[in-house]
Amino acid sequence: MTGAPSPATSPLLHATSLERRFGAARVLRGISLTVSPGECHLIVGPNGAGKSTLLRILAGLARPNGGAVSLRGTVPGREPASRRAVGLLSHQSHLYDDLSAAENLAFAARLHGMPDPEGAARDRLAALGLLERADEPVRRLSRGLLQRVAIARALLHEPTLLLLDEPFTGLDPHATSQVTTMLRAELQRGAAVVLVSHEVREAWPLATHAYALIRGEWALAGPVAGSADQFLARYREAMDG
C-alpha cells in the first residue's frame, strides 16, 4: 500500500506537459504524470475538469495538442501490441446491450487473443460475483451490475496499466469492497492504476498518489500523505481559491 517505487522499477507511463483544447477551451494545461508498477494514482476534480479527457489520452484514444505521453517507450494506442498492456474503464460500458455479459467478455477475450475466451470470461465474471446473471442480455442488468461487468471487461486481459473512470459509481458497499479487493490484487501483481473517482474515501486505501485536477491544471499533486479527510480539506481549499 505504500507503493513507493523501488529504484529498480522504471516508470510504466510517462506524461509530460499535456495540452488539450476543444475549440477555444483549454481542457488540459501542462499536465504531467509518471506512473510506475504497483502505484495507484487517484485523480479528483469537478465535473468537466478534463479528467475523462486525460484518461482517453493516456489510453491512446485521443491525441494531445501539446506535450507527450509514453507507455513503456511508445505512444499509447499506436501499435496494436502496446494496447495489450492497457485496460480502460470509461463512463460508457463498451458493452453490447443485446449480448450477455458472458458473450460480451468472451468477445473481448477473443479480440485480445486469449486462448480460452469463454473460460476466461466466466472466471473473471465469477471473481466479481456475476456468474448468476452472466447469460442475460446486458440491457437487463441494473446500473451496479453493469458497472461490474464493465470492470470485469477492463481487467479481463490482465493489463499492466489500468485506467479507471469512476469505477465505484453505482456500486453498493459490498460490491465496492469486492472491486477494491480486486484492484489491490492487481496492484500487488505489479499493475499500475490511474483512478478517477469522486469517492475519495473508498479509493484512499488503494492510492499511492493523489491529484486534484481543477480547470485543466494540477491544483494538488503528489504522493499520498495523511488521511482522506485531510486531502479533501485541501481539495476544498483549492476549489475555493
Binding site: 483544447r21 475549440g23 477555444a24
Partner: protein
Amino acid sequence: MPDRVAARRIASRGLVLIAVGLVALAGIYLLALRFTPVERFQGLPQKIFYVHVPAAWSALLAFSLVGIASGLYLWLRDPRLDRFAESTASVGLMFSIIMLTTGPLWGKPVWGTWWEWDARLTFTLILFFLFLGYRALRGALADPEERARFSAVVGILGLVLVPFVHLTVYLFRTVHPQPIVLKPSEPSLPWEMLRTLLASLAAFTVLLVGFIMTRYGLGDGENLGNGEDRGKGEAYGR
C-alpha cells in the same frame, strides 16, 4: 499576427485574379458573339458551349484538386491542406451549379428539352452531388480535426470514383446515342471556335484559382467565431 496577414494577402491576390478573370470572361463573351462563326446546325444557342464546357472542366479540375489535397492531408495532416480542400470544394460546387444551369439553357433551344442525359451534363451532375455530400458532411461534424479527416476520406474516395463515373457515363452514352453529340475535344473544330474555347478555358481557370485563393484567404463559417486562429498550424488550436 503574421498568418492572418498572409491570409489577407492571398485573399486580395485572389480578388485581383477574379477581377482579371471576369474581365477576360467579358472579353470572351464579346469574342464568342462577335468574332466567332455561328455553328451551322445549332445556330446562336450553340455559343453557350464556350461557357458550358469550361465550367464543366473547372468543376472536374476543382474536384481533382480536392482529391489530391485530401490525400496529402491524410499523409501530412497539415490543416492548410484541409482548408485548401474546403475552399476548392466550395468553388467547385459553385462552378458545377453554373454548368448545370447553363446546360439546360442551351439544351432547351437546341434539344427541345431542359435536360438530356448527355455525358458531360451527367458527369457534372454526379460531381455536383459529390461536392454537395462533401459540404454536407463538413457541416455535420463539429470537431475540426475529425471534420478534416473525414472529409479527406470522402475527397480521396471521390477522386478514385471519378474514372469509374467517366466509364459509366461514356459507356452509357455509346449505348444510347444522343441526338446532338458534342465531344469535349474536337480536333475538327475550326480554329476560330477552338481559339474561343481555349480562351474561355483560360479565363475560367483564372477565375477558379482566384475564387479558391479568395475563399482560402478570407476563411469561412467553419473557422470564424470559434476563437481559433486561422493559418498554419492553428486551425485546430494546435
